[in-house]
Symmetry: C2
Subunit: 468 residues, 2 copies
């Protein structure tokens, strides 16, 4: 056994250091198809001090560390690309504090996102970020990836709710950033930098979250269209009327068909687009907004508008969107869910472009996503074992990313760059941007032990030499 | 004339490069008392390309560059501490685009903040950050300092409204960050890093701002107390009732007295604290919130609660807070306005501590500020020519910063570190934090030409050698 593994075993104890083939295999992949690499060991530290001791050892031995929550990442962000150590956080899963006066919650990284939402709700408060994986994802993973969700337009993303962090730096030193403060300009904003840094700058060991008052009520509606343009025009018209809905999701025709075949919720399978719209807030305002939105849908030639009368109805409507991925995933052995994002005004153009690209490369792509914030999820149903098709799938996604950039968008709205999208990062940030980010990375992590092979392609791709 | 000055003259033209003593003197200070240093030259570029050419020259000749908006900085952030070049932006003052579909505005750095608010308002939209200097401050200055204001609690600060930037890096290369996107996780978040970096990482040459729908209405009220504790208890109780007012400001007894003597608006000069509270939003909700807030004020033993019935009344009430600094500034030759910030729950404790510290060091400090977000403005009326008193003032502020940190706060909520607070930064971020920030700074700006002497104390204090 490599000496670094023995040293880490001494830190966490025999029971919490795994090197058996079955354990290594279990942590060799995340939710991203076609990316896999075996770690050399897996450790589950108990507290910040153990994390610091582990990181110090890894830095000394130049061993890659991959922090991992529940492994729901969709960009190969938590695969141990260069081997080394996978760090688990299920033993650091405590909600440390709920502060009713400052409306904050302080949590360890292993806490499940849904548990945070539940505790907040029980106190009349609200933690808005709601990535689709929230029932199983950890807050540590959400922070590393700056996770989004269905409420981004009105409420923002994870970064907007992180007030303070405790971080173990690549040197093993522990720092605290931010505070229970609405305003803090003491030096560079390390808090916002760590959020979304994909585990490449340090290990997050504690976070203080901002909570907001829980909206009094929420209403849900569905609008059905015979063209994507009309649905997109509705989205623009709602915003032009100065209404910001809590959620404004869309699913396209192939997604509608897959969902209906999977869940039989009465969607018209010949519709071209469905919008799922929710508004929350004070009851009178929500009622008024929903009425106005209904009128706007009708003006923009929705075939049908359904407003949920009960929570059960609302739940059924939400299912149309929530089951999209599961429904599509049934269609083929491999499902690639992407998240190219464009300015809201470009949604219809982008969906049209995606369809053209799919047909050019002869691949099957269904698209759904967050219409309100332009965050699309073109989803390819394919089979990774079909090498020839796989190549066309990759070409199609490259074309999609390029189109998103051309329209003023980005290669990833909420999934992260990971290993998967690292070859495309230059499309968004340019060579200058990558150079700057790499210099920053080196200033934090000179030995490049923190989740190597992620964000940056090529030059960090070669395996770090592990001293054994 | 130094060769770098001649080279820059060639870039901007004779008319826009100043080296006369009177010009240099005019840009030797900002709004911070007792900090002054002469630049070697002052240049007003016309566009990004000229900025890039200038920065490239400064980098070649190792000349410090100090970007400067309207010079309203309160932490000596725009003083040319180490000489070099002051860069002005009054020729880059265009609103480039208003995008009604994506609710954004794209502006050059020299645009006056108030003009942005006015244009937004004319379109039924709202740009919330409202630093007190907004009538004369530039958006470039606001971005460099991550300016706050009176609406931080509900609406956040400048950083929350910057979607994209064009930045000239210290090498002279131009990059673009972000986009008209609610979600973007392509690499490290350079946008949020540049906002609030005090001109030490690059020169901002364009920014895309996020706008939100304009609140339908706004109501204003004043509550008067015979103790600071009761005012602070009111603030806590409002939040505990899950109401987030747009503004929740307080002024203490010495401030009340100064304001009343200055503006004669009928404040009771024997009151210990006054809260100015505003709520905005849909009319019915605002009415209900204001009623609830009034009841909470009464429960917490406010001596008197005044609700403005007309906009003229509201304006008069706001004057109590808006004139605080001017009123205090009349009392003595020198006014030091600080911005130590604590968690909201610690406001009463902090105000008490400030009063104790003032009496310990025998200095005069009045305190007002943003009660909702714990951002206090202890303001010392003194005379910088009185060396002995000045020393006590400095000791008092150091004690105030330390107390704020002890209570979980920060040394600066919205003014920035600048040169003035650089000796105290370690109190907040630790030596580890400073080391990390310095390494980041060097990764951007290896020759340390960008606003040197700011944020970081001591080791960057020695004057950079200018090759002449």
């Amino acid at each position: 056994m490599a000496p670094w593994i023995n040293a880490i075993r001494e830190v966490v104890g025999e029971k919490h250091l795994h090197t058996k083939a079955s354990s290594l295999l279990a942590y060799s992949y995340d939710a991203t198809p076609n990316f896999q690499a075996l770690p050399d060991a897996v450790a589950a530290p108990r507290n910040t001090e153990e994390v610091a001791a582990i990181v110090k050892l890894c830095n000394e031995y130049h061993v890659p560390i991959v922090p991992r929550g529940s492994g729901t990442n969709l960009a190969a962000g938590t695969t141990p690309t260069q081997g080394g150590l996978v760090l688990l956080f299920h033993r650091m899963d405590k909600i440390m504090e709920f502060d009713d006066e400052n409306l904050t919650m302080t949590v360890q990284p292993g806490v499940i996102t849904q548990d945070i939402c539940n505790l907040a709700e029980s106190q009349g408060l609200f933690y808005p970020p709601d990535p689709s994986s929230m029932k199983i994802s950890t807050i540590g993973g959400n922070i590393n990836e700056n996770s989004g969700g269905l409420r981004g337009l009105k409420y923002g993303v994870t970064k907007d709710y992180i007030l303070a962090l405790e971080v173990v730096l690549p040197t093993g030193k522990i720092i605290r950033t931010g505070g229970k403060l609405a305003k803090d300009v003491a030096g560079y904003d390390l808090t916002k930098l760590f959020v979304g840094s994909e585990g490449t700058l340090g290990i997050i060991t504690e976070a203080t979250l901002k909570l907001v008052p829980q909206p009094e009520t929420k209403k849900t509606m569905l609008a059905i269209y015979d063209s994507m343009e009309k649905a997109a025009a509705t989205v623009s018209a709602i915003i032009a009327n100065r209404i910001i809905p809590a959620t404004m999701e869309f699913i396209d025709r192939p997604t509608i068909q897959a969902v209906e075949s999977y869940a039989q919720i009465g969607l018209p399978v010949d519709a071209e687009a469905v919008l799922l719209i929710e508004q929350d807030g004070v009851e009178s305002v929500v009622d008024q907004d929903i009425q106005e939105i209904q009128a706007i849908c009708t003006e923009n030639e929705a075939i049908r508008v359904q407003i949920a009368e009960t929570e059960a109805d609302a739940h059924a409507l939400r299912e149309a969107r929530r089951t999209a991925l599961s429904a599509l995933a049934r269609l083929s052995p491999t499902t690639i869910l992407e998240d190219a994002t464009v300015p809201r005004s470009e949604i219809a153009t982008m969906v049209r472009a995606i369809n053209d690209i799919a047909s050019t490369f002869n691949v099957t792509i269904a698209t759904f996503g967050h219409a309100g914030d332009g965050n699309l999820h073109p989803t390819c149903t394919t089979d990774v074992r079909n090498k020839e098709e796989w190549e066309r799938v990759e070409q199609a996604f490259e074309a999609i990313f390029k189109k998103a950039i051309e329209l003023g968008g980005t290669i990833t709205g909420e999934h992260g760059v990971g290993e998967m999208k690292s070859p495309y990062l230059a499309l968004k940030v340019g060579e200058e941007g990558i150079e700057l980010m790499k210099a920053m990375k080196l200033s934090f992590d000179p030995n490049q032990i923190m989740n190597p092979g992620k964000i940056f392609a090529k030059s960090t791709r070669k395996r770090v030499v592990v001293q054994t």
